[in-house]
Symmetry: C2
Subunit: 309 residues, 2 copies
């Protein structure tokens, strides 16, 4: 379709994109790939423990963001799948270690007993270490059809996202803030942009790098990811108050019990909901130049604020 | 010097290689590089905790093996230094996590209180995670003058050496064997080839890969490393019985207390010493084709069996 001034008219948004079908299909692909990535061998116990947490029910949001971004930048699902699996391995490691008695001391996660409750604290520490190192091995060894230089960038981004300058640093400030009810918005933002945001951003950015995206596009997609990362956390805080344990698959009301400052505590529930929506709108604005191809990332951004668990 | 048949005569072995000077120089270089690798930034506590264990007094055997092998294969110290630092980061992570109450429950390491005794168990878990991920970031980002393809191989080798198919797997079998005094030699070998051997082997192999060594040379050096790895562990077991806590910098007699089967328990002290010497001889035999250039690795192999701590 061509407008009267001769320029192509942007296509209407496809009315048939069904998120639920899309997510189910992608979740199944990611879960099949993860299942195949980690066969059980001697010593069985450590592999069983790693698989117990890795294959537990989950949204697979990080892998799906990585695959969607790679496709958006004209890469394939195949070239991004090892990195997608690695993202879930890293995320799972952080959940196993965070749930331990020395940290958040959680008994339930993803609708089942936490790793250390089943396998013991020693194996839980080691299962986390095993998943973290295997993530890097898996990207380096299993990725096909991507230049080594790009893969090195992916390794660097993943490692930075999980380390002291990312997830680990966020968790440290979170632990330090526990019980302090006078935490400022700045500190809360630091916690979440590091504890949750860094790995979500890496998910999107790595998908783009694998496909050979330009620096400008990587920057734009990083911005998208940072906004949905913060929105994701605000919604998480809201759900901790409003959802039931059954819906969450983990202990509900945990933040209040642990005297953790949350966005609803800082802003109230209604303002928190509004801010989450604003962040999602800002995220989606970054995708405008990509047109129709960005529909999956657009819809994923909406999904974050409307999800109920 | 040319022989009568026109071929160059192999040089006599240099009589002046002084191991003590060599080790001191290399240790100082590695420690300066590690110190510079990890500046303290917000949140300070996690960086302080990582630095506390990383920079604690240590032999730096893994970095030194990596640098020496890279030089042997005509690479430079500069191109191997980030990997050398990464090896010590990974080794330090394994010590921090192994020392935790849920695992070996040690109070002293490298002549100082263990990480969790100073910083708490939560920070100790996170410091380990931070060091492990930073190791991969550091290799990927800081290595200069090495093709990306080789660096990816290094990432894969390091990751495999620390994961469930390496160090973590060895630690799991070690934990399972505790208190069982009927452990077979096969199981003891599995524990040590994985818990100690895998990372020592990776140290040597990564040094060779960085320098662009042929597959045959990598294989030969891997064999050298496997032999000194096992010898190293036998000597460690011997020292646990014969050395004092002051000499070791960690709790002495720990293995006996923990009812761990050791090589001296299996073979007796004298046979253990003999086997360690045989393994070192086998290791050195692998180095013959490299001639004079292999002197540092030769002497390092000897050092392992004659060390007193």
């Amino acid at each position: 379709m061509i407008a009267t001034d001769g320029r192509p008219v942007p296509q209407e948004k496809s009315p048939v994109f069904d998120l639920s079908t899309y997510l189910s299909k992608r979740q199944a692909e990611v879960e099949a790939a993860m299942d195949a990535s980690l066969p059980i061998t001697y010593p069985d116990k450590i592999y069983e423990s790693m698989r117990y947490s890795l294959l537990a029910k989950g949204k697979r949001l990080r892998p799906i963001l990585c695959l969607a971004t790679c496709e958006l930048m004209d890469g394939t699902v195949e070239m991004a799948m090892p990195t997608a699996c690695a993202l879930e391995m890293i995320h799972t490691m952080s959940l196993i270690h965070d749930d331990m008695p020395a940290m958040d001391n959680d008994d339930y996660r993803r609708g089942q007993l936490t790793n250390h409750k089943v396998y013991g604290e020693d194996i839980a520490i080691l299962a986390g270490d095993g998943l973290l190192s295997y993530a890097f091995e898996y990207v380096a060894v299993q990725t096909q059809g991507v230049p080594a230089q790009r893969l090195l960038q992916v390794v660097a981004r993943l490692a930075k996202a999980v380390g002291a300058s990312g997830l680990v640093g966020g968790q440290v400030v979170d632990l330090e803030s526990e019980g302090k009810l006078d935490i400022q918005e700045e500190t809360l933002n630091f916690i979440h942009t590091h504890k949750t945001g860094a790995l979500l951003e890496a998910s999107v950015v790595c998908g783009a790098i694998l496909a050979g995206a330009t620096e400008a596009d990587v920057e734009r997609l990083s911005c998208y990811a940072q906004n949905i990362g913060l929105a994701f956390q605000i919604v998480d805080d809201i759900l901790d108050i409003t959802a039931t344990q059954e819906e969450l698959g983990k202990t509900a009301g945990k933040d209040v019990q642990a005297q953790k400052v949350t966005y609803p505590a800082l802003w109230g529930l209604e303002v928190s909901k509004t801010k989450a929506k604003q962040l999602v709108a800002m995220a989606k604005a970054q995708l405008e130049p990509f047109g129709e191809k960005a529909v999956p990332l657009m819809v994923l951004a909406d999904f974050i604020t409307t999800r109920t668990h």
